[in-house]
């Protein structure tokens, strides 16, 4: 047939934008589906610790699939800049492997594959980007979170600063062999790598098909319109906030390299009139001799997530809306642009979670109903990287567990989302199935449940903590973890209480109980049992203002006890569990 339909003429951006946004979403979803189904390690295919997006050549983030937020808000754009800078002669068939924390990536365990998409004249038009957290990245110790590493050398990760991994659509086998020689469970790594390449190539193919349909000029027009639309939506949303300025602080627990912990300070300036929010992170310590340093990508993104959490869901998350957020960073700062060879092995969680929470609390200081409390903190033994030799098949294994997380921060509108995980994951990551974990690894998970009375009271309450207990089955296993939140809790906002603390201990087979430090490498023998509690999220607002019916519902559902209802919320329940209105009013009058 003839090409009657290929180039509809439309003058109005609102129509073209609507239709092309569908098509771009189709592309990033196609990439994500490929990655999800073809990847090998649980951290990708079960926990969804990956992201897919399309970038303009500016470079600006144009479209992303349901991705881990800490991966994508900022980072892909910075990385893409380095791609153009390092590779001035790119051509079709090229693909680049990137994990360098010094050049725009999140942390060394996140492997990104970037594929430049060309038109028929070999002009670079867009970049597709697929990133996933590898189960191993060649660190000295079997963990992808080398919290104690003094520098990148001790960390041991192979660093790929935008290294060409495919030429003419074929792998550069030299690089693949290097990886296979230095990365644990190489077959699993290879499967994950293939999935990343597959996702990027699917994205490339779909981009070219789309351009074939509508033409590159129309796509460029769209990109400009869509980013401008998103920026407008963001500006409008910020204009509905009150202007203000606040400085908040947050403290990371003591860790190797920071024996007294680390306090970070965040200043947030909302300029409602201009529709801009500025987050200044420069007044913070220099890089520290451990793996906690943030990268440019994660420092910027953590702040941005905190801002987006204060805004309506409808604002698209892309390079356009992000133009209205300025994040000021300093070179050589622990929460800024890291300096080689400081290690950034834990850059997606530890300090990122702390500073993101501080941004949310700063916004809460601007006026009633705004901002959020701190989201919970992770990386305790429920998230341990476990390794060992399987007793049945005698094969080595290494992978990260995701057995439990909670951590949802309260906002004016909502109680904390129970399975929020942490600030950077925002609840997008999944939880492992106990049976599947036990099928794949020699484990018994004895307990996984919400802890009663561990929620953070507030007008809206933070998520409670969860308790996890597990043992090795018929063997020894090594576990590594780097848990924040055992000393400094996730903080509440606007009068809400702090979230519960993390805690970790081991019950040895002889009954001895050993408390475990925040950062640990532990060998579990058979019949030893790890017991850990994850942090909750902070509460928001005065708990004595919480609607009594919500408190009685929490009691009914077994989240809190009757005693807690009375002591923390001033709500008195009668025998039947209903609110005693008079006693509650009288008690609250005194407590308030």
């Amino acid at each position: 047939m003839t090409a009657t339909f290929s180039k509809p003429v439309r003058n109005q951006a609102g129509i073209q934008m609507a239709i092309l946004t569908q098509r771009f979403e189709g592309i990033v979803r196609g990439m994500a589906n490929t990655l999800l189904r073809a990847s090998r390690s649980g951290i990708m295919n079960t926990a969804h610790d990956f992201s897919c997006c399309v970038l303009t050549t500016e470079p600006a983030l144009l479209a992303m699939a349901q991705s881990l937020p800490i991966h994508v808000m900022s980072g892909p754009d910075v990385s893409a800049r380095f791609m153009s800078q390092y590779h001035t002669q790119m051509r079709p068939g090229d693909a680049f492997l990137h994990n360098s924390p010094y050049e725009g990536n999140s942390h060394a365990a996140d492997y990104a594959v970037l594929v430049p998409v060309f038109d028929d004249d070999e002009v670079h038009r867009y970049t597709v980007y697929a990133k996933g957290h590898m189960a191993d990245c060649g660190n000295g110790l079997p963990t992808t979170y080398a919290a104690a590493a003094r520098d990148v050398y001790e960390e041991g990760a192979l660093i790929f600063p935008m290294v060409q991994i495919q030429r003419d659509f074929a792998d550069c086998e030299d690089i693949i062999r290097m990886c296979e020689a230095r990365i644990r469970a190489p077959e699993q790594w290879r499967g994950d790598y293939d999935a990343l390449i597959g996702a990027a190539r699917i994205g490339e193919r779909m981009m070219k098909a789309l351009a074939g349909d509508v033409g590159w000029e129309v796509l460029d027009q769209y990109a400009g319109d869509w980013l401008a639309y998103s920026e407008r939506a963001m500006t409008d949303a910020i204009r509905r906030l009150p202007s203000g300025f606040a400085v908040t602080k947050a403290t990371h627990d003591p860790f190797p390299g920071i024996p007294d912990g680390l306090e970070v300070s965040v200043s947030v300036d909302v300029d409602a009139e201009d529709g801009r929010i500025t987050v200044d992170l420069r007044a913070n310590p220099d890089c520290i001799p451990c793996g906690l340093n943030l990268t440019e990508a994660t420092a910027t993104t953590a702040a941005m997530i905190g801002v987006f959490n204060a805004l309506p869901t409808e604002v698209p998350h892309n390079g356009g809306s992000c133009r209205r957020i300025t994040v000021k960073l300093r070179d050589g700062c622990a929460v800024g642009k890291p300096r080689h060879p400081y290690s950034c092995s834990v850059a997606t969680t530890g300090l990122a979670n702390r500073l993101g929470g501080a941004v949310q609390r700063a916004l809460a200081d601007m006026g009633p109903g705004i901002g959020m409390a701190d989201t919970g903190l992770i990386m305790n033994p429920a998230y341990a990287v476990i390794s060992g030799e399987h007793p049945v098949n005698h094969e080595p294994f290494v992978n990260q567990l995701m057995l439990a997380h909670s951590g949802g921060a309260a906002s004016f509108e909502n109680d904390g989302w129970l399975t929020a995980s942490d600030h950077g994951a925002g609840g997008v990551v999944r939880l492992d199935s106990v049976e599947i974990d036990e099928l794949q690894y020699p484990l018994v998970v004895w307990r996984r449940e919400v802890e009663v009375d561990s929620e953070a009271p507030g007008f809206r309450r933070g998520a409670p903590g969860t308790i996890v207990e597990y043992s090795p089955l018929e063997c020894e296993i090594n576990l590594m973890y780097a848990s924040d939140g055992s000393i400094n809790p996730p903080k509440g906002a606007a009068g809400g209480h702090d979230g519960c603390l993390a805690h970790q201990s081991v019950i040895r087979s002889n009954g001895d109980v050993e408390d475990l430090p925040a950062y640990g490498v532990v060998t579990l023998r058979e019949h030893d049992r790890i017991v850990c509690r994850t942090t909750g999220g902070g509460g928001y607002g005065n708990p004595y203002e919480r609607e009594p019916e919500r408190v009685s519902a929490d009691v009914g559902e077994g989240w809190i006890s009757r005693e807690r209802a009375a002591s923390a919320y001033g709500v008195v329940l009668n025998e039947a569990g209903d609110v005693d209105v008079a006693a509650t009013a009288a008690g609250r009058a005194v407590l308030r």
Binding site: R10, G14, A18, I19, T313, Q440, P442, E469
Partner: protein
Amino acid sequence: MRASVDTGGTFTDLVLEHDDGRFSLHKAPTTPDDPPTGIIDAIDIAAFELGLSRTSLLSQLTTLSHATTHPLNALLIGRTSRTGLFVTEGHRDILLLREGGREHFNSREAFPRPLVPRELTFEVAERVVRGGRVEMPLDVDRARDAVRRALELGIEAAAVVFLWSTVNADHELQMSEIIRAAAPDLPQTLSHQLSASLREYRRASASCIDASLKPMMRRYLTRLEAVLVENSFAGRLLIVTSNGGLLDLSEVIDAPIHTIRSGPAMAPVAGLKVAMSEIGGDSVVVTDTGGTSYDVTGVNSGLIPLSRETWLGKPFHSPLIGFPAVDVQSSGAGGGSIAWVDSGGLLRLGPMSAGADPGPMCYERGGEFPTLTDACLTLGYLEPDRFLGGRLRLDVQLARDGVNDHVAIPLGVELEVGAAAVVDLATAHMARAIEDCCIRNGLALENTILVAGGGAAGLNAASVAQRVGIRWTVIPSIAPVLSAAGALISPVMKDIATSQPHRISTLSTEDIATIFGSLLDRARQFLGEVTSPDMLSGIDLFAEGHYLREVWDIDVALGPCELGLPTADRISELFHARHEQLYSTKHTGSEIEIVTWRARAWCQREHIELPVIFAKPKDSTSRRTTRVFFAEAGWLDCTAYDHDEIAPHENIVGPVIVSSDATTIVVPPGCKIQKTAQGGVIIDGGTGER
């Protein structure tokens, strides 16, 4: 005579297969408070139209196949039985924690409530570990105590979900006895009997759904049967199940979860049959356009895919059903989806929907916002006097005003351009859903056939196909009742499965014989009970597994058991091929782990014809000219045909409109159509530029 009846949200569809091989369609409004009444109403309407009495029609039926949304609705509005859940100690929050995840990090919605509240979840001290070994025996005293507390709290049904019960069921069986001793008549669901799947959350969810439906579905199905029998029905009552088959009443009463996706499961069955009969292809995308949603299923090489990842309601804000159901993905773009322009000037379609009530503005039932249907009417796709055979007159002016006020003016475009944009956006939504589905199922679009069902299917099916690069689209005569038609041709069928994780490399011929031996015994017993002498029957074998360390299982067809049990090498070969088909890669050097083994027993009549519904002949020819707007060409004079006046195999070139009592097909310029002997319309979108 045979019948199928599909109780949908709005209408109850009845399809009759007459003894002369003809089919007829009859519709009545659904009566949600008492669904059997709606079924009898539909039967009365059919009887009237055929000049029969209710009892004489019913007495002529040899089978009646029934699909219903009744249990799904009961779950969605919380009208199911108070259910107690008994779980392994330490795991009381299986239903609360689920598998984590949510769609957006900054969504504002409250955390969803669990299917069974924590108050009614009871821990039992017991533990089985990998391999089925008992690590901690069941504590009988504490189990009895849990049952006593549950009964005190007034539970009306019980679900038992212990870890690893699919590999060692002893503790669940023991618990069942303990419950029965205390409450002999309390309905129970044991997770290992319901679902052979690892992943405790999904099994728990399925078990609780099943248990909570038992009292209600027993009442409903026995009442339906009684009403039918009272009215002289003496045939076989079969219930449509979520896996695309039929089961006898007693089986469904024992495990009502089978019915939870019975409506959507049948469209792919019918769609596959359509593709095979009309074009001779078995790789097909089947779509069903409804008032509020667009359902899509991808069938790769004739295998209708099953999924355990179907949500009861909104993804991440409702439970996963956790029970295998035909993989039907719904997206929110239907005829009733509302078109609007947001404050940033972006055209949007949905997620709000006018549904069937008040419906589109042009229905004149008080709809205040323009819908996809209104846009189609504005463009001349629908003829106002001929909608649903003239039974519902559409108000063009209301539609035009609505599209103008809410779409065209805010966008600053001409009315027609605005309306065309709405249809185009719907097409983009649908195309995305199809692309998603093809990637998930490894379908290559250029070799795939689109079968479009639903009353509104024809309005933009040709455009959707062109957008995604599918050449052949079939709009069968049964398009408006794809589900009900599917129920007439699907087999009586049961999946019998066991969860026994094995690595292929360690699997001996004896192991395979042992695993399948017990499944085949059960399958043959089932067939013995359900097969009549005039039926064909068979048992097909399947394995679900993954490459070592992959965690998502793929479903591999191992062929009919008559060909003998497959060897380990044969299973590997089939697994690699299927993996390549789905994901475009295979790893022949990798170890394969099979987790679930399945035997599918089926039986059906010897000759299954594609149902064909011919329109009633008109008194006179009514070929006419009508004005239709196409975005690329503007207003064109189009010939409008009545479906029944087109001769089979006559070639017609677009732009044309083809309408019948139940559906309208818009054929854009450049597309060609042909009507087949079976009454379907095949659209050839060409193979040129997409």
